[in-house]
Symmetry: C2
Subunit: 552 residues, 2 copies
């Protein structure tokens, strides 16, 4: 394996050294992939197929001037080889999958800029002063959840002055203020922030308050510039930079950063349908607190994704009479099956014991081309369907509509396509199967005193209606904070253009507008789950650092 | 090396298995050492010489029933071999130094109790609830500095209900409220708390506020039971347990723990000599804040250890006219020389790169018998004296009395003997050499208006006198909080009994009364620097856990 890889790298490196993009591209399979994270292209870019690879190389090779290609060895994930290389500006690592001597996938990722390495480990300084003078922010990050915080930490270590503004009163409130029973649905190994891993006694699935407190301490010990109780009112592009008006604890402040990052999260714009009439208390899932308030009450939960299940289970456990209203078929997968069959290979104690650090896991995940992901994921969900046949049969008997995604590619795909549409089962599915959570189809169309009128015309008694009906697109933030024109120019944020439900084409090859330049100069989007916040914050931070160095 | 070690372990293990303490002891050099941390002796105990080793084995072997001795390999510190073994109750690790086939030093250390392992890594649980119910404390820890906090974290992971009471308003205040210019004098690799290492961009020498904030966040994310603004008024032994009266935010509360740990620190009882007359402002070093308040003033700093130097340097840099009053010869060593020649072998980036984890470094340090330490340290300080001859010549010219300890064994020895008497030079020595900090000998005997009268009879103009004259013994806390009788029975706390200044004999072989049972049942002392707080908290926590399990 490594001998073949050694030869491949020698040929690739030689072709690049003589500027022969054609020869380099021919070392790939005809339909091979090259994903680059900032090292060559300066951005996040996937080249699909030889022609695309060649044209990307033609465009980037001279400026990148890559050298010193070295095979580090086979990945401990036993899924390709790890590589190191340098470019004119920096040092990178890579991941290579070969099939019969040709590259099926190559990932190249910039890791640090020469002369601007993070002052860590052997480069740490001896002393800092006790004073904490603040520079004028070069970057303003709107939103202080895990996305804003992880990016803030990366920029801090890179010496890029950045200010995070957070509407809520405390860092972590975006978690703290969610419904009481919320636990992470992703396992702990997947969720670390950069630089300070969670202590190793943390449970596999942390409760929300623990994450909230961790974020709050992280802001403090990483000494981030972080303004709480600060709402971003609007942002205007001015002379290639930004004028950002914020309200800090009630006082207007105007900021003048060069770059603006919207890290406002996927949960900014609750989708709360208009409901005619009056009667039951109506909440969006983001407003729901504690099931204990509804003991003995009749509750309807509209929706069948994660929050709908969590809230219905909490209400049931608290002694409410709960009916879930399902609007559309939903992906349901048992948490334990995901742990064992999906996450476990890269993110688990077993993976750690095999030498797969969080960093290698992230790199391996990043190396899978988005176009290939569904094909690679499908067998895993086929296996889950067999293994958990009892669950799916029970759900079917209970009338719950479930699937594995329109192409059977499961949860990870649908998350990338539309960030919603699934439930990782930690117990609510059995409540549905048992009838402890009742099930109906449709939604609530109107309220009529003590009754809720469903879209199909039926009426149900209801004291509480919770719309766990999700959120609008992250791009709406651009419309709200900047202007509809800018939002329109930028286009949709998130999604791949897979031409599946809620993810219309064209195909992009990367997540749309995430962590990369947009059509609006110096406007960026950052976010996603804890893993994405950790991993992609580095590449966004490097892009910002390069601009700071270049005087942009 | 490892073959010889392999044979030694086979012989040792066989002798122990057949209960042959004599044969086991003969595998040591006649003057060999065996240090045990809780694995055999249930406490911290050093056996010096074959007869002592044999008698300790005779006393402990049957109960310990050690088995499964395994050579892990040569230590990455290239200073002996690492070992694993089991006892009836737990699993341990060890460190072995052989000379010509015989053991010069053996360390055995209990690491976990079978069936009561910390629920971490592969043993982590899947879920915890969001609630934080508190059990009645089995242990009350008085003092919430690094000692109390590290022990609290260990006990938390071991499932021993523990409550930390801290007089000050916030965790970390014991650091936060010290003089403004304070930075750690020990390097960062030496200073980690258990479980959550500092991020790797932290400077080699952290400013005090950073440590303070870290301690505060640590209490929070480790979810310790920690009462701030809570003063311990007194503690009484009652029926083999304790009645502890505290004032929590002004309200009296009585606690009934089984065990009482005094983690009140070395800085509890400022030594502030009586000064006749009146005039200059008089402060103990623990009350000094910021030199900037004394710009243009005449200041006397009495003492020549760390805080005296730091405060004099701060005053000088702030524009005061400073005279240091030296009372006795002091160990002075350049920080950089200590980094390179003393700490660096075990605690540095180079050590980490060589595979010497913090844990292995701690184990290696613990494996050196206290009796051997001065002999091993002396050559190092001889080397420092040669290397920094310019510094010492300069100090001599300036009239500053310095030495390398009475036996030339330097700073680490004197720290263990009396916890004071040295300065790690980060710049103040050059100020003394240059005359920017003036130097006199003696102390301040009286004040007379604008003048201070020195012990030798001279008078100096003075607006400020800072007594950087150290602290009383930690044992004074027992007298104050419990009773003089109990304090008398327990005897001195800290020190080795080396028969050097301020450390009268008899020789003990371990630090007196630290981290081990005292003559007062269920009374313990814990503390020291960050390294000791990290390392010894484990062994104290295991001793407490064993008592909890045994129903004590």
């Amino acid at each position: 394996m490594t001998a073949v890889a050694q030869r491949w790298i020698a040929s690739f490196s030689a072709a690049l050294a003589r500027g022969d993009a054609k020869a380099a591209a021919e070392l790939f399979e005809p339909d091979g992939y090259w994903r680059d994270l900032v090292a060559f292209t300066g951005t996040l870019h996937t080249s699909e197929g030889r022609a695309s690879i060649r044209s990307t190389l033609d465009r980037t090779l001279a400026a990148a001037s890559p050298t010193s290609w070295t095979l580090t060895g086979e990945s401990p994930a036993r899924d390709g080889c790890l590589i190191r290389f340098e470019t004119r500006l920096g040092r990178g690592i890579g991941h290579l999958r070969l099939r019969e001597g040709r590259a099926w996938t190559l990932l190249t990722a910039l890791r640090e800029l020469k002369g601007h390495e993070e002052p860590a480990g052997p480069r740490r300084i001896q002393y800092v002063s006790n004073s904490r003078a603040r520079a004028k922010p070069y970057v303003v990050i709107v939103g202080g959840g895990q996305g804003g915080i992880a990016l803030g930490a990366r920029l801090k270590r890179l010496g890029v002055p950045a200010l995070i503004v957070e509407k809520k009163a405390r860092a972590g409130d975006s978690w703290r203020q969610r419904y009481k029973s919320l636990c992470l649905h992703d396992p702990v190994w997947y969720d670390h922030l950069p630089y300070i891993p969670f202590p190793d006694h943390w449970p596999v699935f942390s409760p929300k308050d623990r994450i909230a407190d961790w974020l709050e301490m992280y802001v403090r010990v990483m000494e981030l510039d972080y303004w709480t109780s600060t709402e971003c009112l609007n942002a205007r592009p001015v002379d290639g930079a930004w004028q950002v008006d914020v309200l800090r604890a009630g006082q207007p402040v105007t900021l003048h950063p060069t770059h603006l990052v919207l890290a406002t999260g996927m949960s900014g714009f609750p989708s709360l349908p208009a409901v005619k009439g009056s009667g039951a208390k109506v909440l969006h899932s983001s407003q729901f607190g504690d099931g204990a308030e509804y003991r003995g009450k009749k509750a309807l939960v509209v929706g069948s994704s994660t929050s709908a299940h969590d809230i219905a289970a909490d209400l049931h456990a608290s002694g409410a009479d709960v009916t879930m209203l399902q609007r559309a078929s939903t992906i349901v997968v048992r948490s334990q099956s995901l742990l064992e069959l999906a996450w476990g290979r890269l993110y688990s104690e077993q993976a750690l014991a095999a030498g797969i650090s969080t960093d290698i896991a992230d790199l391996t995940l990043a190396s899978v081309p988005f176009r290939e992901l569904p094909k690679l994921q499908k067998p895993l969900y086929d296996e889950i369907a067999r293994r958990d046949a009892d669950l799916y049969a029970g759900l079917m008997r209970a009338g719950f509509l479930h699937d594995m995604g329109e192409d059977g590619s499961g949860l990870h795909s649908i998350y990338l396509r539309r960030g919603a549409g699934y439930y990782i089962d930690v117990g609510a599915s059995q409540m549905i199967i048992d009838g402890r959570i009742k099930l109906k189809h449709g939604t609530v169309a109107a309220l009529d005193g003590s009754r809720a009128i469903l879209s199909g015309g039926d009426a149900l008694p209801a004291d509480l209606v919770v719309f766990a009906t999700g959120y609008g697109n992250m791009g709406e933030w651009a419309a709200k904070l900047i202007s509809p024109e800018v939002a329109g120019r930028v286009g949709p944020v998130w999604g791949l253009g897979s031409n599946t439900k809620n993810d219309p084409g064209p195909w992009v090859g990367e997540l749309r507008n995430m962590w990369k330049p947009t059509k609006q100069p110096n406007l960026w989007f950052h976010g996603g789950n804890l893993m994405q916040s950790r991993h992609y914050s580095l590449y966004l931070a490097l892009q910002l650092k390069m601009r700071q160095l270049g005087g942009h």
